[in-house]
Structures are given as structure tokens and as C-alpha cells.
């Protein structure tokens, strides 16, 4: 596993560790995450990526939607994933 992937996973875990009130306030929005914590919230993925890329070097940040985790990929799993 690469350092980049480890960093993304650390950032992802930060979403599941958000206080309930903060999670519900920002549910459906997109977070810029750096070093395992939320840097900023944005209404759209576009806004989040543009903000992240103007403030951080590529690879130093993650951008993720605030949503319940884990996600369910539906039909793919019920059909025949993984091959």
C-alpha cells in the first residue's frame, strides 16, 4: 500500500469520527481533508477540488462526500463481484 493510499484512508476515517452534529450539518457536502482532519466543507465536489488544489499540493489532500460509511455498491456485489 502506498503512502498516498494510507493518507487517503486516514482522511476517510476522519469522516466516520466526526461528531454526530457536525456530520448531520454537513451531510451531502464535500470535505477537503488534510492529515486526518477536515480542512473545509463545500457545497459541491467542484468547489472542494478547486479549493483544495489552490491551497495544497496534489497528493497532500483528499476530497470526499460526507455520507454514511461504509458505502454500498448494490448490484455489483449481489451479482458476482469480485471475479
Amino acid at each position: 500500500m502506498s503512502n498516498l493510499d494510507l493518507e487517503h484512508r486516514k482522511n476517510s476515517r476522519a469522516i466516520s469520527e466526526l461528531p454526530k452534529g457536525e456530520f448531520e450539518t454537513h451531510r451531502g457536502e464535500f470535505a477537503v481533508l488534510v492529515a486526518g482532519s477536515v480542512s473545509s466543507y463545500h457545497k459541491t465536489n467542484r468547489e472542494a477540488i478547486l479549493a483544495a488544489r489552490s491551497n495544497y499540493v496534489l497528493g497532500q489532500f483528499s476530497v470526499q462526500r460526507i455520507e454514511p460509511q461504509p458505502v454500498d455498491v448494490g448490484f455489483i456485489d449481489r451479482a458476482d463481484y469480485p471475479r
Binding site: 493510499d5 476517510s12 461504509p70
Partner: protein, 149 residues
């Protein structure tokens, strides 16, 4: 309100035509560029799946579009009883009407956050999940599958 008409896969699974692209900002030297100079796109059938919380694209398409990893999400596989982390990416999404000579009928309002899986040998190369469908009216119970945004 654009209406997107699709078709059925094996009479049960609704499919719609979509264009996936890398039309998001990328760096050209030190400058952030949103121009179409390096735009890559591909037209594929996408499964409309109300059971999926998140949209998915084929891993091969992610490679062809040269999408950069944006994050990582835990994914539940109920049949296997496991949760695994999978990388997320961002791509552009356009919908096409299957019956209107390939005219683009709807551009998804935001850059789409997607997971990437191996969909080799599938009729569909993308899955449109509830992250997109929650903004739409979906009708699949008679005639053609229709999505109305």
C-alpha cells in the same frame, strides 16, 4: 426538465447512455487548467441501480481517462460480509437519450465522485447510484426506463 430514455438489459436492468470524461481541472506546468486541450471522454452504457449508494465506473475507464485518486472510501460487500477500502476518483458525466441520435441531453451539475471496480465482460461500464438518482425522478415500471432531472 430533460428526460433521458434508456433500454433494459436482460429485460430487468435499466441502462442509460453516458459520457464519462476527465474534464476537470488539471495542472499544466504550474498553472491550473480547465481547458479541453487534454480532454478524454468515452461513451458507455451505465446501469441505473437504486440499491447502490454510490456511483461506480469500470477500472479500465479510470485508467483510460487518467483520473487521479481523490480519496478512499470503505465499501460494504454484504454477500462476503466484508468492508474494504477502495479509491475514489472524480470525472465529468453527461447523459444521452438512447432515442435521439446521440444528442447530449443532460450534463450532471457537479463533478462526479466515483469508485472504480473491475466491470470487465459486463454490458455496462458504469453504475449510476443514489448519489446521482436522488436528484432525479426515476420511472422503470413500464415501457422504457426513464430518468427525469
Amino acid at each position: 426538465m430533460p428526460i433521458i430514455r434508456g433500454k433494459y438489459y436482460e429485460r430487468r436492468q435499466p441502462l442509460v447512455k453516458v459520457r464519462l470524461s476527465n474534464a476537470i481541472p488539471h495542472y499544466v506546468g504550474e498553472e491550473l487548467s480547465i481547458g479541453p486541450a487534454a480532454e478524454i471522454a468515452c461513451d458507455v452504457w451505465a446501469l441505473v441501480d437504486t440499491g447502490a449508494t454510490h456511483s461506480v465506473i469500470d477500472r479500465q475507464i479510470q485508467v483510460e481517462l487518467m483520473l487521479l485518486q481523490q480519496g478512499s472510501k470503505p465499501v460494504l460487500f454484504p454477500n462476503m460480509g466484508t468492508i474494504e477500502f477502495h479509491p475514489t476518483y472524480t470525472c465529468g458525466l453527461h447523459f444521452f437519450d438512447h432515442y435521439s441520435d446521440g444528442a447530449k441531453v443532460h450534463e450532471w451539475k457537479d463533478w462526479l465522485e466515483v469508485l472504480s471496480f473491475d466491470l470487465t465482460e459486463r454490458t455496462f461500464k458504469a453504475v449510476i447510484g443514489m448519489d446521482v438518482l436522488q436528484a432525479a425522478k426515476l420511472s422503470v415500471d413500464q415501457g422504457l426506463p426513464i430518468i427525469e432531472f
